[in-house]
């Protein structure tokens, strides 16, 4: 049951016991401090009692610090003369005994009072906003975000690491539950983005480095060498046809087909310009061939092309790095490596896609014949608390498995289709109806039970599983086994997170600033989250979140100036010895050194003094600890303030 602070903390007693502390002019309790009433009370108290500092004992400062600072400002006080004692999340909500809770709340209040005594008025500076956004990832999430930002009139750059935009959605066949063709709804968006005057797309590009901060990010983008001149290539495709090296596995087709060394990943790719896979190309590997350069009618082949580094400034950055799926090799029991006819759901998508390697004909990979029976296995690697799997639910697998099963039955009613599942989870508009249709109308057989192993038997496969309803073990024959592998964040999510100082969880999904109230923002100001990189999502949810991320980015870009954090480092020039230990630990290069005239023990002398660039300083405080003379301190979290808190608590 959710309760108020007062359930486990005697708030009247907290007020009572701090009242007698020297300098405390007024203390009271109130039920809803963050409400309008609470703020009025605060303003009145400041006026009536001539208060010069405020301590609010309430919920986490992460929730309402800004609210109370605003109220202080309205009462004519500097907003930084407010401190919050967190007696909700850190006290009332975690301690059940009222005596214990009250005692701790009093201690926390005393610490905040000790600190606030030493607070000084601070004024936030201003920093300009670059009116341009960077979107990382060119899948449906990134495209939607970019389009929305561009439509609002701001410039957007998209970087996509693969040779074409489109992402995972481009690989899919149909989408649930409406069964519209994935490519048919995605490609117009790709074209829109490519044609938009406010959007610049950098494909085959990666983020190299980011510096700066909200409103003023500076990004270095590495445009990998395509070996083909984008402006000259007409996309005729002659080079791909003639290329003698055709053994590379097609990434787009999940390795179900091979491609040439010079290739365009798929027919509707944007840009429709090939790239040379240098690992596969004979010219690069053995200095032979060179055929494509000879035959290209536009003379667009450039073997000598090098990676290009582009540096740009951005006000906002949106992460839309999407997902990949867990490697089924981890789950040896399914025999993915040993049986050709054990495939993943994404491979199945390519197999049933009319533009796929079999033109949509469903065949066994082992012999090219039509399968007579198919078994789908859900939760491969999802809801798996062992080391090898992921503990979360991948959310989309139940629905796409139902989609696959239904599509098979629709095209080939004679194929027997079984689905093994732990639970069927189908919340969503039209989702449950869809899954039921697969069962009731199309005769897909759903069996609740886990699959133990897949073996080869009599030329086909045997799926050994439990049937929970019947309480027995069963062996199901299958010509094809399809594994619904868990959704996992893109492999470079963690690298990007550290580059951008964006938070990431233990599963490598980006963390939002608040799970309920700020779901599309990273805790790092100016970084926004779009799509599956934040957590598993289906397409409509991804699009909705992409739009929300765009709105947040637009909100930022529409401002001319941002208020900066005034809690930054500052130097006491008379005690600074100029050793510059501070400079070495500053992650932002915010500390420089200048020769200055200073007063040292009554003598005037000119010496080296550290200097803090307040616009660059982010207020971590590393320098204040590194400083041997204590000359470097941090506003808002000064040595004296923290020491006062320690003294109050101990």
């Amino acid at each position: 049951m959710r309760k108020h602070i007062a359930a486990t903390v005697d708030v009247a007693r907290v007020a009572e016991s701090v009242r007698s502390i020297p300098d405390v002019a007024f203390a009271t309790d109130y039920r809803y401090m963050c409400s309008e009433g609470g703020q009025t009370l605060l303003r009145q108290a400041v006026k009536e009692h001539g208060l010069s500092r405020i301590v609010v004992c309430a919920c986490s400062p992460r929730m309402h610090e800004a609210t109370f600072r605003k109220a202080a400002k309205a009462a004519g006080l500097n907003p930084y003369l407010v401190e919050i004692a967190n007696i909700r999340e850190h006290c009332s909500w975690v301690h059940k005994d009222k005596e214990v809770g009250t005692a701790k709340a009093i201690a926390l209040a005393k610490a905040a009072i000790a600190k606030v005594r030493l607070n000084t008025p601070l004024t936030a500076g201003e920093s300009p906003v670059v009116k341009r956004a960077l979107v990382i990832g060119g899948g449906i999430a990134g495209l939607q975000t970019a389009l929305d930002i561009a439509e609002a009139g701001y410039k957007v750059d998209i970087i996509e690491k693969s040779p074409s935009i489109g992402g995972k959605m481009a690989q899919l066949d149909k989408t649930f539950p409406t069964l519209d063709c994935s490519a048919c709804i995605l490609t117009p968006k790709m074209v829109d983005a490519a044609a938009h005057e406010n959007i610049t797309i950098h494909t085959y590009s990666e983020l190299e480095k980011v510096s700066g901060y909200v409103g003023q990010f500076e990004a270095v983008i590495r445009k990998k060498a395509r070996s083909v001149a984008v402006d000259r290539c007409s996309g005729c495709g002659l080079c791909m046809e003639k290329c003698p090296s055709k053994k590379a596995a097609s990434e787009f087709d999940e390795g179900l087909r091979t491609r040439s060394a010079i290739y365009i990943p798929f027919a509707q790719a944007i840009p429709n310009v090939p790239v040379i896979d240098r690992e596969q190309c004979l010219k690069f590997q053995a200095d032979k061939c060179g055929l494509c350069a000879k035959i290209c009618p536009a003379g667009a082949i450039e073997y000598g092309q090098e990676d290009e580094l582009i540096t740009n400034k951005y006000g906002a950055i949106v992460l839309a790095t999407g997902f990949t799926t867990i490697d089924p090799v981890r789950f040896g029991e399914f025999g993915y490596l040993h049986h050709k006819d054990v495939i993943t759901s994404l491979e199945f998508e390519r197999l049933t896609n009319a533009a796929g390697p079999t033109q949509g004909k469903l065949v066994k990979l082992s012999d090219g014949k039509k399968p007579k029976s198919i078994v789908f296995v859900s939760c491969v690697g999802s809801r798996d608390t062992t080391e090898r799997g992921k503990s979360y639910c991948s959310k989309i697998c139940c629905m796409y498995t139902a989609k696959h099963a239904l599509l098979v039955k629709e095209k080939y009613p004679d194929i027997a289709v079984k689905v093994f599942y732990i639970d069927v989870r189908t919340p969503g508009k039209g989702f449950d109806e869809f899954q039921r249709r697969a069962v009731e109308e199309y005769g897909v057989e759903y069996i609740k039970g886990m699959v133990g192993k897949v073996t080869e038997e009599g030329g086909g496969l045997a799926v050994h599983a439990s049937d929970v309803a019947a309480g027995t073990k069963i062996v199901a024959e299958a010509d094809l086994v399809v594994l619904a592998t868990a959704v996992t964040p893109s492999s470079d999510a963690r690298k990007l997170a550290s580059m951008l100082s964006a938070s990431i969880d233990t599963d490598d999904f980006y963390t939002e600033a608040h799970p309920k109230l700020r779901p599309v923002e990273s805790p790092t100001a100016g970084i926004f989250l779009s799509g599956v990189c934040q957590g598993p999502k289906d397409i409509p949810e991804t699009v909705a979140q992409a739009g929300a991320a765009a709105v947040k980015a637009i909100g930022l870009l529409s401002k001319d100036k941002l208020l900066t954090n005034p809690c930054v480092a500052h130097v006491n020039e008379t005690t600074c010895s100029g050793c510059l230990a501070c400079e070495k630990v500053c992650p932002y290069g915010a500390i420089t050194a200048d020769y200055k005239q200073v007063n040292s023990k009554g003598l005037k002398e000119r010496r080296l003094i550290a200097h803090v660039n307040e616009a660059l300083c982010q207020g971590c405080g590393a320098c204040s600890v590194a400083c041997p003379s204590g000359a470097m301190d941090l506003r808002g979290f000064s040595n004296k303030q923290i020491m006062a808190e320690v003294d109050a608590l101990c």
Binding site: G619, G621, I642, V646, L649
Partner: protein, 149 residues
């Protein structure tokens, strides 16, 4: 006599100061609260912008004033909001632990933990475990400066 000593030992409520960085661990503590994951009330949190803001003197001061345990919680290595702050924390605290050992203070009284904003459960577990350790270690008598109070 012995029985009396044992009973005071059982009633011993240690004083524990937790320095939590604003971006990960303080938020983790908030999440522990939101999820009602309880931990001993002996733990009192001081917010710092980054774990690297914790000056070893704050810790020594806490011990002098009678704290029985001090714990510093920051973002996981590599995840510091300020990129490198917790690396400094890690090195500084390793040195400080050596110094504490030299001073005759059990270095288990000082702990460094990485707790992310998403790890409310871990926050509660870590604090419960640390409080247990400190309770078992008993009162911090070695560094306590009686004039401090």
């Amino acid at each position: 006599m012995l029985a009396e000593k044992q009973s005071t030992e059982q009633n011993f409520e240690p004083l524990i100061v937790a320095f939590c960085c604003n971006w990960c661990s303080y938020a983790g503590a908030d999440l522990a609260g939101t999820a009602r994951r309880s931990y001993p009330a002996n733990v009192k949190i001081i917010k710092v912008p980054c774990s690297c803001r914790v000056n070893p003197t704050f810790i020594l001061r806490a011990f002098l004033r009678g704290a029985d345990g001090v714990i510093i919680a920051g973002c996981h290595p590599g995840d510091c909001h300020y990129t490198t702050g917790n690396y400094f924390t890690r090195r500084r605290m390793t040195l400080l632990m050596g110094l504490l050992g030299y001073l005759g203070v059990d270095k288990a009284r000082l702990r460094v933990e990485w707790v992310s904003a998403a790890e409310g459960n871990k926050f509660a577990e870590v604090m419960t475990d640390f409080a247990g350790t400190i309770k078992a270690l008993g009162e911090n008598v070695k560094l306590r400066d009686l004039r401090c109070k």
